[in-house]
């Protein structure tokens, strides 16, 4: 085996961090929605799939500029997020959590089937070949670097939105105490709508970056859905900073573990870490008891 501090380790660390950026971006929206609405959207990764298809059709097929396509994808998924809330979540807000889980789980299969019927089962992609970034014999993914930068920016923007705007303050207040805030005159319905819009928009943002690295197909959510959910639980469901940190911890374990053992052992190590953490801190890394 090469030395412990070889360039391959550095490359694995950096790639782990960059992969963490992708996962962090995915977990942001899901955490926001859970933190405010208190419902887990099992179908969150399927919203990302719709965003990826929007990018594919606008940029890949109709050759609309990639930035305009990205804006459209964010808008489409944001509206889809709002529709999910209004049509499916809002009517069952008072139901037991298991019913809510089943509803969003059912929505997952509905979305997969709709995508299959509308666009078929073929794998589609933008056909982009991004530049190769090389530094000192180490190589880094351009798309992931972009995703990492956008994830950081997204986190800061979300933080500013939640702390510097009136509606952001209302969202935080609702997430802290749903009953009291309604008594104090906050229109919880409007706050939920904004949350669903922003959560959907974040899924749209993630889709714009994922479509640069992955093919889109109706079942692409299977690849990201479970790990996104695990990250949110690890960080503390509803805690955005916790999810953000959890994403980087898991991705680094996967990346470095996969370098020194078999790739699958990297995932085993990450999930063992998750299970151990659930025993030590069942509320998650930064979650409240």
């Amino acid at each position: 085996m090469d030395g412990i501090f070889d360039i391959y380790l550095v490359e694995a660390l950096v790639n782990g961090l960059l992969f963490g950026g992708v996962l962090a971006l995915l977990s942001l929206g899901l955490n926001l929605i859970f933190g405010v609405v208190d419902v887990i959207w099992i179908c969150y990764a399927e919203l990302v799939m719709f965003g990826m298809y929007t990018m594919y059709w606008l940029n890949g097929v109709y050759e609309i500029h990639i930035l305009l396509s990205a804006l459209a994808a964010i808008g489409v998924v944001a509206i889809l997020g709002l529709l999910v809330h209004v049509l499916v979540i809002a009517p069952i807000l008072g139901s037991p959590p298991i019913n809510q889980l089943l509803a969003t789980g059912g929505l997952l299969f509905f979305f997969q089937s709709v995508a299959t019927l509308m666009w078929g089962i073929e794998f589609k992609n933008l056909g982009l070949r991004l530049p190769i970034l090389e530094y000192n014999e180490m190589y880094f993914s351009y798309a992931r670097l972009l995703a990492f930068g956008v994830a950081l920016t997204g986190m800061v923007a979300l933080y500013l939105f939640l702390t510097r705007t009136y509606i952001g303050a209302a969202i935080r207040a609702i997430s802290q105490d749903r009953e009291i805030m309604v008594l104090m005159g906050v229109d919880s319905r409007k706050v939920y709508w904004v949350t669903a819009l922003v959560g959907g928009g974040l899924a749209g943002l993630a889709s714009c970056l994922l479509v640069l690295q992955y093919d889109v197909h109706p079942f692409v959510g299977i690849t990201f859905g479970p790990i996104t959910f695990i990250i949110c639980v690890l960080g503390g469901l509803g805690n955005m900073l916790g999810g953000f940190i959890g994403a980087f911890i898991l991705s680094l374990i996967i990346s470095v573990g996969g370098l020194y053992a078999e790739l699958e052992w990297g995932y085993v190590m990450a999930f063992v870490f998750f299970i151990v953490m659930m025993f030590i801190r069942p509320q998650g890394l930064l979650g409240n008891k």
Partner: protein, 434 residues
């Protein structure tokens, strides 16, 4: 009631009974076949839907000719949804509720392994057109399961044989100094082929610098790519579905992995149109091990009439996929194996064994003896006997190695079937050039 009226009533009764009997006979003149492939889920686009198309083209072809020995083929198409548990449920549903006479199809080895055991335990007949894992048949002594396809071990040894043949002349390396890596999805399909790769590599004395499996749904393969960079293989043997192979190729390019030859083994690598659509010219010079594409077989080497059948399959394929540029071997593979059953096995079962009960089909399949040139893919068919370790496996099947060159599929191995001299090592124009 008058006598005349009674007679009239009796006559009507007899006529009705006769009509009903005739209708029942007409209805009975069919063989009910359960066809299982993945029409949805990730495996569908990875090749399963193309396999399903090949089987359907052939079933429609026989029905258009009036069926087999007067029996119409009533095919019930079923979607395994890329999930083994669904495949098992569908197989049982087709057998127990739809009362099918037999099952045909199966793309995924992960489905084939449990389904074959279940179907055999139910003493029903199963004709496998596609899945290749040795684990489906090895040491299981299944009585009702037959596979005209080459198995994964054959796939796995074909590529090292090919590389060993050209190591000195093309790569300038003695086989004993050649560094090879074996990577594979970790299901029965990938593991079976990888075991063949390893055995073949050991036979030729290659240095195996890395052998590793991964989950086909893994969202990130960058650690594997980095490890491959560290291991510096000259040749990579890869077995995967889709989207894992596109993720691997994309991340290999981004992370600077280089090789002299990359050899895929079916599934995702068997759809050249998709590879070119995704990677453009970067897909050039990739090798793939698969049963030969029926469109690459010289019709003159086949039994009379098979060339026309191949043309018909191509025309129907084109109708279903007007934009297709390079015919995928997947369609021809299922078409050929389905053709073999309906053209050879089923007629003998009906004529020599009294019908198409599972036992009649089993006996007819076991007695199959088709010489080389007797199938659309060119190879013959003879199944290993019940006491053999691979009972039910076609011992006359063999895969070929093809190379994708400028969007076209060329046979490079074995030498007698070669349509082009292999481009090896990878030329400088490729981003993967080493």
């Amino acid at each position: 009631m008058s006598f005349a009226k009674t007679l009239k009533g009796l006559g009507l009764g007899f006529a009705t009974a006769a009509a009903l009997t005739l209708a029942a006979q007409a209805q009975a003149k069919e063989i009910k076949v359960g066809v299982i492939y993945d029409y949805t889920g990730p495996l569908a686009a990875g090749g399963s839907s193309l396999q399903a198309l090949g089987a359907k083209i052939m079933i429609d072809y026989f029905n258009s000719k009036g069926g087999v020995e007067g029996y119409k083929i009533n095919a019930i198409y079923s979607d395994a949804q890329s999930k083994p548990e669904i495949a098992i449920n569908e197989a049982v549903r087709l057998i127990e509720q739809e009362k099918v006479d037999m099952l045909l199809g199966f793309y995924s080895s992960a489905q084939c392994v449990p389904v074959s055991a279940k179907v055999d335990a139910l003493k029903k007949f199963m004709w496998i057109t596609t899945c290749i894992s040795p684990a489906v048949l090895k040491d299981r002594h299944l009585e009702y399961v037959f596979r005209p396809q080459p198995h994964g071990g054959m796939f796995g040894t074909a590529s090292p044989d090919f590389v060993a043949h050209y190591a000195k002349s093309k790569l300038g390396t003695d086989p004993k100094d050649l560094r090879v890596a074996i990577i594979h999805e970790d299901g029965p399909y990938g593991s079976g082929v990888a075991a063949g790769n390893e055995a073949g590599s050991k036979t030729h004395g290659f240095k195996i610098v890395l052998k590793e499996g991964y989950a086909a749904t893994a969202p990130d393969l960058s650690s594997l790519v980095t490890k491959l960079k560290r291991a510096r293989p000259d040749v990579i043997f890869h077995t995967g579905y889709n989207p894992d192979i596109t993720l691997f190729l994309r991340q290999s390019r981004e992370l600077g992995l280089r090789w002299k030859a990359l050899i895929g083994h079916g599934a995702g690598y068997g759809v050249p149109d998709k590879l070119y659509a995704t990677f453009g010219d970067d897909a050039n010079y990739i090798y793939n091990v698969d049963p030969v594409s029926i469109w690459l077989v010289d019709p003159k080497t086949l039994a009379a009439g098979l060339g026309e059948v191949t043309q018909m399959v191509g025309a129907e394929y084109k109708k279903a996929h007007p934009d297709v540029k390079a015919f995928s071997a997947h369609v021809g593979m299922a078409a050929s194996n389905t053709y073999t059953f309906f053209d050879n096995v089923l007629p003998r079962a009906i004529k020599n064994h009294g019908g198409f009960t599972p036992d009649a089909l089993r006996q007819a399949a076991a007695a199959t003896d088709i010489p080389v040139g007797g199938t659309l893919m060119g190879y013959g068919v003879k199944f290993q006997p019940k006491d053999a370790s691979m009972s039910g496996q076609n011992e006359r099947a063999a895969p070929v190695v093809v190379q994708y060159i400028d969007g076209k599929v060329k046979i490079v191995w074995p030498v007698p079937l070669q349509t082009v001299d292999p481009v090896m090592p990878l030329p400088k124009t490729s981003p993967y050039f080493k």
